[in-house]
């Protein structure tokens, strides 16, 4: 009888915990490392799905929001930016680093795009120099490069080369623009127009490329500019043209394509010191694709005879938050019963209340709650 009761107790507890875990499925970020999120092909000429993807961005609350072109349909006019983009993705404008697409350039010189992001008439701003449309910035130890695939030029290529050379000490590199080099989409498909970007980024050991244009989500295995598999030092491309415009269809999957999804959503990248995690989240807050990858190690180009690699300065061992494991409340390097005890002591407490323990608030929502418990349980024993 006692045995039966204990089994029943376990059974009911299991069901309840499973149900609780499903309720907290909207916990996207489980790390203290920087998070960026974004999508391309965002705002149709109507109040549509861009509001749902904006809600996802809001829930993720990333450090930086990236856009992969075609921010506003059909022609990127400032009036439509203000009417449709601004009430949705415009909520994150101050932390958005956009890239332009072909629809943004349907207005001559993409005036609406630059006026919206940089401010009317301003030469430069969030979208970079309006005469260029490409720029770079850093998020933590990661280097980000926003490129203009609508206006391909030797000037931009030269700038990209110099930017890569100047930032060889970045732990990892992400580049993003609009037109995909590789795509299994039935509507647009692969295009060689951005092959020069790929060549340089591969030579300088970039890690991730993010694009849009095909209104789909597609993840590729690391590959070289020719599309051949290269697990050791290839670049992983994500097509995320799922920000709000209507969704396209896939044709036959091309080489190295690993996952293909036709639905609206956003990509979230968690940036670790030498690696990254990705999640593709649909408008139902479900993670439809996720995984982790390592950054390509080493600096300098691999096979460029004309380039002299810049000497890499000695890196100082600066402690970062990335060394703290999620769930490790007492910072002893192990997530165990002691952490559980500490979390229990501050459970239900919010910032400012007596008993609130910031170390137990893993998702930094200023409250120690079931979501933090979920993070701890996911890492228990690690």
């Amino acid at each position: 009888m006692r045995k039966t009761i204990s089994y029943i107790f376990t059974f009911i507890l299991s069901i309840n915990l499973w149900y609780a875990s499903n309720l907290t499925r909207v916990v996207f970020a489980q790390s203290t490392d920087p998070v960026v999120a974004g999508a391309g092909d965002i705002s149709p000429n109507t109040n549509g799905t861009q509001f749902q993807t904006a809600n996802l961005i809001q829930a993720i609350n990333p450090l930086t929001v990236l856009t992969f072109g075609d921010n506003q349909y059909p022609s990127g006019a400032l009036a439509t930016f203000n009417t449709y983009y601004d009430p949705s993705w415009g909520k994150f404008k101050s932390k958005t680093r956009p890239s332009p697409g072909n629809h943004d350039y349907n207005t001559s010189g993409a005036v609406g795009y630059y006026d919206y992001f940089n401010g009317t008439g301003n030469a430069t701003g969030l979208a970079g120099d309006r005469s260029k449309g490409y720029y770079s910035f850093n998020v933590g130890s990661w280097h980000f490069i926003s490129l203009n695939s609508e206006i391909m030029s030797s000037t931009q290529n030269a700038w990209l080369l110099s930017d890569l050379q100047a930032n060889q000490n970045a732990n990892c590199t992400v580049a993003y623009w609009h037109h995909p080099r590789f795509s299994s989409g039935a509507n647009h498909g692969s295009s060689t127009r951005t092959a020069p970007f790929w060549d340089m980024l591969y030579q300088y050991k970039a890690d991730i490329i993010l694009v849009g244009h095909d209104h789909l989500y597609e993840r590729f295995a690391p590959q070289n500019p020719s599309g051949a598999s290269d697990p050791a030092r290839g670049i992983r491309q994500f097509t995320v043209g799922t920000g709000g415009a209507r969704i396209y269809s896939f044709g036959s999957p091309i080489a190295n394509s690993q996952v293909r999804i036709s639905t609206h959503g956003v990509i979230m990248l968690t940036l670790h010191a030498g690696s990254y995690d990705w999640q593709f989240i649909n408008t139902n807050s479900q993670v439809l694709d996720s995984g982790s990858g390592n950054c390509v190690t080493g600096t300098g180009p691999t096979a460029v005879a004309t380039k002299t690699p810049t000497p890499k300065p000695t890196l100082t061992a600066t402690p970062t938050t990335s060394t703290v494991k999620p769930g490790d409340v007492n910072r002893d390097g192990v997530v165990n019963i002691l952490d559980f005890q500490l979390l229990s002591n501050s459970f239900g407490k919010s910032l400012g209340q007596t008993g609130y323990n910031a170390n137990a608030d893993f998702n930094k929502d200023n409250t120690v709650n079931i979501m933090d418990f979920q993070i701890l349980s996911n890492n228990f024993g690690k």
Binding site: I8, L17, A186, N187, S191
Partner: protein, 209 residues
């Protein structure tokens, strides 16, 4: 329904085992002590025979089984509802689909669909994954996008499809419709080949239910 309830339990077992090691061991010990105390107290106040005690145990066990079944059914129903809306709309997560394609004609087995006069097939695809067979076709057409989408909306409805839309998307001339019948969910949209507004295409995607 019961099976649906058991599915999440099985999938949750590793986590449950880990969490159970934290919570349940302590709780069960407390529970056992409480039961023993209650039992002793009850037997002291109500002397019963061994047979009566066995009968009480049997009834209690049956009651617990009924409670478990009710709880399982409740969560099974919730899981069933959630599974039903897992990927709303026309969504497939393709990872290992087997694709065959045909150039210039509809691939064998392609579902019946009205053909707008003058359109020509560019490519068609058949995709099989997890015992579901989906189809995609790309046609080239001339004329206005909204005209062809409106035509399909009416024709599909008269063919017995339940049609929603047309929805205006990127602009007035870029639209899509969604439709379904007993076998498929269908999406049709007009667009253009990469970078060339003169090469207009119509794309239809059938997802098997």
């Amino acid at each position: 329904m019961i099976l649906y309830g058991l599915k999440p339990v099985v999938s949750f077992l590793p986590t449950a085992r880990r969490l159970f090691s934290i919570h349940a061991s302590g709780c069960v010990v407390l529970l056992k002590e409480k039961i023993n105390t209650l039992k002793t107290s009850f037997l002291d106040k109500n002397p019963v025979t061994k047979i009566q005690l066995t009968m009480v145990r049997g009834k209690l066990l049956k009651l617990l089984v009924v409670i478990i079944l009710l709880i399982t059914a409740f969560f099974g129903y919730k899981f069933y509802r959630k599974a039903k809306v897992k990927y709303p709309g026309l969504t497939r997560v393709y990872t290992n689909e087997k694709v065959t394609e045909d150039e210039g004609k509809l691939i064998a087995g392609f579902p019946e669909i009205p053909q707008y006069p003058g359109i020509s097939v560019r490519t068609s695809y058949k995709k099989v994954q997890d015992s579901k067979t989906d189809y995609v076709a790309v046609w080239r057409f001339q004329g206005e996008g909204k005209t062809i989408i409106n035509w399909y909306s009416k024709e599909l409805a008269s063919d017995g499809w339940k049609v929603t839309g047309p929805f205006i998307d990127e602009s007035e001339d870029y639209l899509h419709i969604e439709a379904e019948n007993n076998n498929y969910k269908l999406k049709i949209q007009n667009t253009e080949e990469d970078g060339d507004e003169t090469k207009k295409i119509l794309v239809a995607e059938f997802l098997e239910k």
